[in-house]
């Protein structure tokens, strides 16, 4: 499995990163590309920007751990995760997950798994900037539930 994990301030090129995972290979039959985008509103009100704080060192290590786990659980041929930090405007990309496999089931499942874990275990924190001030975004119970699914599926599969 060829993996690329990057943290950066600058925007990324999702199409180029996606193409890189299948280029020159005859064994890749499925590439799944997920892009997380900054919405123009949060909790029903428009926002000016999102600022992402992160824990340098741990963020990369956590993402690497989860990509390695994805590679253990599914027959992946490649995986790319790029996560931006810093100030991000509405409509801009925040995060990219690309997974490549011979067949689609692994690519789809691994991409969803990686996103569910990025939402709950990767040390990033979002701040919403509006005209009248700045607030920290609160973690969602639905994100924790989504990540927990992957643990339950493990237990169910083992039974």
């Amino acid at each position: 499995m060829i993996t690329t994990i990057r943290l950066q301030r600058e925007p990324f090129d999702a199409a180029a990163e996606s193409a890189r995972l299948s280029k020159g290979r005859s064994d890749v039959g499925a590439v799944v590309t997920f892009t997380g985008i900054c919405r123009g509103d949060e909790a029903g009100a428009p926002i000016a920007a999102l600022t992402l704080e992160h824990y340098p060192g741990m963020a990369e290590a956590e993402i690497e751990r989860h990509v390695a786990e994805a590679g253990q659980r599914w027959p992946l041929l490649g995986a790319t995760v790029i996560h931006r930090y810093g100030r991000i405007g509405p409509g801009e990309d925040i995060v990219l997950v690309v997974t490549a496999s011979s067949h689609r089931q692994a690519a789809f499942a691994a991409a969803e798994f990686l996103m569910d874990y990025l939402k709950t275990r990767a040390p990033f924190w979002k701040q919403v900037e509006r005209a009248d001030g700045t607030n920290w975004v609160e973690a969602k119970g639905s994100d924790d539930a989504a990540a927990d699914r992957w643990t339950r599926r493990d237990r169910e599969a083992a039974e």
Partner: protein
């Protein structure tokens, strides 16, 4: 021992990191949060509700009952909102 704080924990404590001599009788992450809360108003405010604070030891997520002996870096932060 190096302590690091992120997001609103960092804002409440008033600094992103510090080096502290943690007493030997403070054995776990939960006990460390309690000890930190006693260091001043800003710490008490940051660790007011320890149940919502998450911790990492040497850049790995840990539970409150984890012992801190031998840790080089301990970080405290709110639930994460990445992705």
């Amino acid at each position: 021992m190096k302590l690091r704080y992120f997001a609103w924990v960092r804002e409440r404590v008033g600094k992103p990191e510090e080096d502290l001599d943690v007493p030997a009788d403070v054995k776990t992450i939960a006990e460390l949060m309690g000890w930190l809360a006693g260091r001043g108003e800003e710490y008490a405010y940051a660790f007011d509700n320890p149940k919502v604070i998450r911790a990492a030891v040497d850049r790995t997520h840990v539970k409150p009952e984890t012992t801190i002996a031998g840790a080089r870096e301990i970080a405290f932060f709110p639930p994460m909102t990445g992705g």
